[in-house]
């Protein structure tokens, strides 16, 4: 893909991002309840103080002007104060973000590592009992409500068998001072292997719950595209040349079959963002998703606003990345 095309695609993102920001702004502007009243809570202040607060927040200005101020501030990462934490929203979010990213990445890895081999196997053994089981499994995977599956896993692995912890990111005894915010990395940097293992154990159930629908989808995609590739002339030719089955499958077929899998994985990573809210709530995972859900009930709107916008920007970015990745991997496709 030429640089010109890439820039053109990037420019196309601008109206989308502006639109997304506008929607998020309008959503919160229309939310019933006066932000100043919410901030004041049950404290008593004079009308003058209230007026000053209102002016300080820019709420006395016309709504169009407020949008542009919001846009300008958002571009600089300034989302105002979190009513509840009484600190800048951006600080609160950036504290919670590593936990969410860590969980999402592990879920993504879990999905890729299970979906690709299963999808390939299902394609090679098309119509076998394994293939049929894989089909049923993937249907179950997309039909299971994540919040229920998570609770089921907790009941079995934590409550019944005591193999894995019920909730949280790490046990109190294993906590280590924060360096990167990513516990798998921090525990290793401190050379604390038992703590690392503890963090891994805390990750397993949430990551499996979060990654399950993605695993199901990626398995179907891999199976379909592998079947497609196996029908291609060059695979028949490689077979005819007398190359070993293993070599044909892994060197010739798989490389091409994985193109759709990788692109779909990039798109589906975006849907992990929504899943995070549910999974973090079920497993008491101290990430951004749970923070947003809590903030809704606390009517901590600046935080909800910033988080929804952040999620949307990441989502748009991931879809863009998926498009680009697809063209790079598959030169026949023109953007």
């Amino acid at each position: 893909m030429s640089l010109g095309k890439l820039i053109e695609r990037l420019l196309q993102l601008v109206p989308v991002l502006l639109g997304v920001t506008l929607i998020v702004f309008v959503m919160m502007a229309l939310t019933p309840g006066d932000p100043v009243q919410i901030m004041i809570g049950d404290q008593t202040i004079t009308p003058e103080q209230e007026e000053a607060l209102r002016r300080g927040l820019g709420l006395d200005r016309p709504i169009v002007e407020r949008f542009f101020v919001f846009l300008g501030n958002a571009a600089q990462g300034d989302f105002g104060q979190s009513f509840y934490h009484r600190r800048p929203v951006a600080d609160v979010i950036s504290e919670r973000l590593p936990a969410t990213i860590e969980l999402s990445l592990v879920a993504l890895i879990v999905a890729l590592v299970t979906a690709i081999p299963l999808g390939v196997l299902a394609a090679i053994r098309k119509n076998s009992i394994f293939d049929k089981l894989a089909t049923v499994g993937s249907l179950l995977g997309v039909s299971l409500p994540g919040f229920w599956f998570g609770i089921l896993l907790i009941m079995l692995f934590a409550v019944q068998w005591h193999i894995l912890p019920v909730s949280g990111r790490i046990g109190y005894a294993s906590e280590v001072p924060t360096i990167t915010g990513f516990l798998l990395i921090d525990t290793l940097l401190h050379g604390n292997l038992p703590a690392f293992w503890d963090a891994v154990k805390h990750l397993i159930l949430p990551a499996v719950t979060l990654g399950l629908p993605m695993t199901a989808i990626l398995m179907r995609v891999t199976r379909t595209s592998m079947l497609e590739v196996l029908r291609q002339d060059y695979v028949t030719f490689a077979d005819a040349k007398g190359l070993s089955r293993r070599r044909v499958l892994f060197r010739h077929a798989l490389k091409n079959a994985l193109i759709p899998t990788v692109s779909v994985a990039a798109i589906e990573t975006g849907s992990l963002l929504g899943g995070n809210m549910i999974v973090e709530t079920v497993f008491g995972w101290p990430g951004l998703g749970r923070l947003v859900v809590e903030s809704i009930f606390l009517r901590n709107y600046p935080l909800v606003q910033a988080a929804v916008l952040l999620y949307a920007v990441i989502y748009v970015g991931l879809n863009f990345f998926a498009d680009i990745l697809y063209t790079i991997l598959n030169p026949r496709v023109k953007l």
Binding site: P15, M27, L140, P145, M155, G270, G274, V308, A312
Partner: protein
């Protein structure tokens, strides 16, 4: 039947062939029957439910299912923390899931058809505006968009339907736009134009009947997703408010008791799984039978 009237024998026989193909798919047919049973259960809930789903009885607090020691056959799946019959609440909960699923899909498909036809047939600025709005809405992860809207509008049945429909229409709209673009230059549309038919007539009478089956297929597939989203919102406490029985909030209620009463969360979740799975299998069968691209 207007479709059959428009192009008499041909459309009728294709429809019959597709229907026969769907009927031949036993798994899909069985799943369709399961979906139908859920719908009947929702409609006739007051006649089927063995107990009053709202009647609390603290003597039955966390009573186990009938086959477990301490259970009673009148309370098949046990009772929740307020002593309410879980089985009866699941039967009533089907009403919320199915009502939300159907209403959102009907609303979204209606809006999507109008928007998609207009964008695909009229082109020009109409297409630019609609496609931009679609792009922007696609920029939000679904659940996060719905959560944002629910935070703004507050919980409640009507608001859930709105929050989901605001984004859901984008999917049928894209399908309809694509299909319309594909058929707008075909001879029969050309012919209608030449005869002086109005754009409205062409869109609704000529194009729509011919692109309807992929739209219906996509809508049924999406219904499963909408039901899970409703349950997820209710689970988070942003959906239908207590004491109304909804499967998502029932699972949530049981979370506090997973140590001593596994049944409170397990059965409502199983109901969601069963309904969603049945819709998924049935709609895949519909797709295989009615979407020509899946005819081998």
């Amino acid at each position: 039947m207007s479709m059959a009237a428009a192009t008499p024998a041909a459309a009728d026989s294709i429809f019959r062939r597709n229907l026969a193909s769907f009927m031949g798919n036993r798994l899909a047919l069985a799943s369709a029957v399961v979906v139908l049973l859920f719908v009947l259960m929702a409609i006739f809930a007051p006649l089927i439910a063995p107990q009053d789903p709202y009647e609390t009885d603290l003597f039955r607090r966390l009573q186990p299912p009938a086959w477990v020691e301490g259970g009673e056959w009148g309370y098949l799946l046990g009772c929740d923390a307020l002593g309410r019959d879980i089985f009866s609440r699941i039967i009533y909960g089907a009403r919320i899931s199915i009502f939300v699923g159907l209403t959102v899909i009907v609303l979204a498909t209606g809006i999507g058809i109008v928007a998609g036809l207009a964008a695909g047939y009229l082109r020009g600025w109409v297409d630019v505006v609609i496609s931009r709005v679609v792009d922007i809405l696609l920029g939000f992860p679904y659940l996060i968009f719905a959560i944002g809207l629910m935070a703004m509008m507050g919980p409640g049945l009507g608001n859930i339907i709105l929050a989901l429909a605001y984004k859901e229409w984008v999917i049928p709209a894209r399908v309809v736009r694509g299909e319309t673009l594909a058929v707008r230059e075909l001879e029969y549309v050309e012919a209608a134009r030449a005869l002086g038919a109005s754009p409205r007539h062409i869109m609704l009478r000529e194009i729509l009947p011919n692109i309807l089956s992929p739209v219906v297929v996509v809508s049924t597939i999406r219904m499963a997703n909408v039901i899970i989203l409703e349950a997820s919102l209710s689970f988070l406490g942003l959906g239908v408010q207590p004491p109304t029985a909804s499967w998502g909030s029932m699972v949530s209620d049981g979370r506090a008791f997973i140590l001593e009463a596994w049944w409170v969360s397990t059965f409502p979740g199983l109901a969601i799984l069963l309904l969603v799975l049945a819709i998924n299998v049935a709609s895949q069968g519909l797709r295989d039978a009615f979407d020509p691209r899946f005819h081998e």
